[in-house]
């Protein structure tokens, strides 16, 4: 009997997509991999809403209320939740705005910016409310694994997926566990 494929969902919150790109940096190894896993909701597919998954990979921290909502959805639906990369783990570069007030940051871009016409801070109801600080995801949910790096190397993604497939703890040694 053919074994059921491992279901993997991914999303990018306040991140740069570099972690997703690093996942694709496994290159040709994606071909045998898609024999063993299938993607659920992910920027790699057209699938919108999340169903129950084995692994959820979260790139990026929390910078607005929508990020929080998605993160909780992922926690509810994923057996194993992985914080992928510096942004998810400690806020990363987006969290550099925590040194300033949100208002100062908005004013710099939309009021005081060079060459700005019709200065105003965007406030349409279609825009989700920004959080005062950018936060790591473990501030809001329980996280099962942390994959450090900016971004983590492709081999680290493969290791965590293979470990889950084989039912063993992941083994992340240098250079796959690195922080740059």
């Amino acid at each position: 009997m053919k074994q059921a494929k491992l279901k993997v969902a991914t999303c990018s919150l306040a991140g740069c997509f570099g972690c997703h790109m690093s996942f694709l940096d496994m290159d040709e190894a994606i071909i045998p991999l898609i024999e063993k896993i299938e993607f659920d909701r992910s920027p790699l597919t057209d699938i919108k809403s999340l169903s129950d998954c084995d692994i959820g990979l979260i790139e990026g921290g929390l910078c607005n209320e929508e990020n929080q909502e998605i993160l909780h959805q992922f926690r509810r639906h994923c057996t194993i939740l992985v914080a992928v990369g510096a942004c998810a783990i400690n806020g990363g570069v987006p969290a550099m705005r925590n040194h300033f007030s949100l208002q100062e940051c908005l004013e710099e871009s939309y009021i005081r910016g060079l060459g700005v016409v019709d200065p105003q801070i965007p406030n349409d109801p279609e825009l989700p409310r920004l959080l005062d600080k950018v936060l790591p995801i473990q501030s809001a949910v329980m996280v099962d694994y942390f994959l450090p790096g900016c971004p983590p190397p492709a081999a680290a993604f493969l290791e965590i997926i293979n470990a889950v497939l084989e039912g063993r703890p992941p083994q992340l040694d240098y250079p796959n566990r690195r922080f740059d």
């Binding site: 740069c16 057209d46 919108k48 550099m96 710099e108 965007p122 825009l127």
Partner: protein, 482 residues
């Protein structure tokens, strides 16, 4: 009574964007609004940081084209340390990594992102329209895409130490040369890459012409175009003047790129975190313009590598100049990929890549402006510093921002062409995705990246009441959610 139609790509769920259509009583679409819901605040939070950090920090705005941000910032800080002219070695290394970057990003954009639409059809089963299905059903094509991207990423890694967010550029130059043994494997592979890029152009041409009228009219909107331009008007990705042509192809401005402020203004609108740049001598309504592969192919007079130039001539004689169809972006994109592969081949034989003479020196300046052609279009970085080397001002106009109004116009056009009455159809959902993907909004500046944008479509009255909604589910099926 005005109605609003809200199209909510999971970008909302990804936190990146959604679309509202404003409809009048005759069901005519007055306006399309692509809401960008991401805000980072870079211009503020970089203040106080030492300027040499810029290339490292700012590339983390976009993991799809980090090298473009790395190099735009590097060009700006070259000026701060007073270096106008890089050493031959530093310039060769920077160009090599930049060509590698445009090549890998174009491969990602076309093969991983857009090809499934074109190969399977805009209205094919969405469960299949993704890279996984492309690998399963068209393994040769998909594998070539994976390998072209890999080649570009490996070039970047050879120069900067990492495929994503490496360290290479320093103020006034580069930090290390290449070694001969690193170059050898690329020399062995580059001819295949060139072949595959050229073959892909032929595939795109065939697909495009198979429904020519439909593809050409799809979301088509006439506009001005802006791109860097080489001295003789050749396609230029690293450095040149800003050249702007109007909708008929006439040059309306040509200026050194550090004078961008004389050319461009940015309008703020309440409904998007992305600003709306336009040509300052015109109005926001008439002065918007497009950037990116289509703009560059339209703006350039020729390409200085032979195979890409032949393909450009074929493109121009088939579609006319300037070409306006958004779907022609994909065709132009792969012509550029071919150009990058050819340019990489030439550079691999340049002994300057091995030179240790990598740093220039000059007289200290208070500001720097770096402009580069990123994969998705002109990218502008502008910084000022104080006497303690700290950044005091940052102004960034990223590629996708330059295309902001263009994306709104093309979405409006597609909706006009395909929204019939009050009927929200799955087809309309798909088609709006397709046209956004032609530009590939690097919304954050990356957004749906490798992605497909699932949608939620809402029909609203002007007071915001939802009449009906259509939503795509996790099994890929559509259902009425209203």
């Amino acid at each position: 009574m005005n109605r609003r139609v809200v199209i909510d790509p999971v970008t909302r769920v990804e936190g990146h964007g959604k679309v509202t259509l404003l409809v009048d009583e005759n069901n005519q679409i007055n306006e399309a609004r692509l809401h960008i819901v991401e805000f980072r605040g870079f211009e503020k939070f970089i203040q106080g940081r030492p300027f040499w950090e810029l290339p490292l920090v700012v590339q983390r705005l976009c993991g799809i084209c980090p090298v473009s941000h790395h190099l735009a910032a590097a060009k700006a800080i070259d000026q701060i340390v007073g270096v106008d002219q890089l050493t031959e070695g530093a310039l060769a290394l920077r160009k090599l990594m930049h060509f590698g970057q445009v090549l890998q990003s174009h491969a990602l954009h076309f093969f991983h992102l857009a090809a499934p639409d074109l190969v399977f059809g805009f209205d094919s089963d969405i469960a299949r329209r993704n890279i996984v299905a492309l690998i399963q059903n068209h393994q040769t094509l998909a594998l070539q895409g994976v390998r072209i991207r890999k080649f570009g990423q490996q070039i970047i890694e050879a120069v900067s130490g990492k495929r994503i967010h490496g360290i290479a550029a320093v103020p006034g130059g580069m930090n290390a040369p290449l070694s001969a043994d690193k170059i050898t494997p690329f020399k062995a592979q580059v001819d295949d890459i060139i072949e595959w890029c050229e073959a892909t152009i032929a595939t795109i041409k065939t697909l495009f012409l198979s429904h020519r009228d439909y593809h050409e009219a799809f979301g088509a909107t006439e506009s001005n175009f802006m791109a860097l331009s080489g001295e003789k008007g050749q396609l230029e990705l690293y450095h040149g003047d800003l050249r702007i042509i109007d909708r008929r192809g006439n040059e309306i401005r040509r200026q050194p790129s550090d004078q961008y402020r004389a050319l461009l203004s940015e309008q703020v609108k309440s409904w998007s975190y992305m600003k709306f740049p336009y040509l300052s001598h015109l109005t926001p309504e008439t002065g918007w313009y497009r950037v990116g592969p289509l703009a560059r192919i339209n703006v350039c007079r020729y390409i200085d590598t032979p195979r890409a130039e032949r393909c450009r001539q074929d493109f121009v004689s088939t579609l006319g100049a300037p070409a306006h169809s958004p779907l022609a972006y994909h065709w132009a994109r792969m012509i550029e990929a071919l150009h990058c592969a050819e340019a990489i081949k030439n550079l691999l034989h340049n002994p300057a890549l091995l030179s240790n003479d990598l740093l220039g020196q000059g007289t200290r300046q208070q500001q720097g402006i770096g402009v580069i052609e990123a994969p998705r279009g002109t990218l502008i970085h502008h910084y000022e510093i104080n006497g303690q080397d700290q950044v005091t001002m940052a102004n960034l106009i990223v590629s996708t921002t330059n295309n902001n109004q263009a994306m709104n116009e093309s979405i409006r056009k597609v909706a006009q062409q395909h929204l019939t009455g009050k009927e929200l159809t799955p087809e309309l959902l798909n088609l709006i995705e397709v046209v956004i993907r032609a530009y590939d909004p690097c919304l954050s500046c990356a957004t749906h990246a490798a992605g497909k944008m699932p949608l939620r479509l809402e029909l609203q009255t002007s007071d915001g009441k939802i009449h009906s909604a259509l939503q795509r589910n996790s099994d890929g099926r559509l259902h009425n959610a209203g």
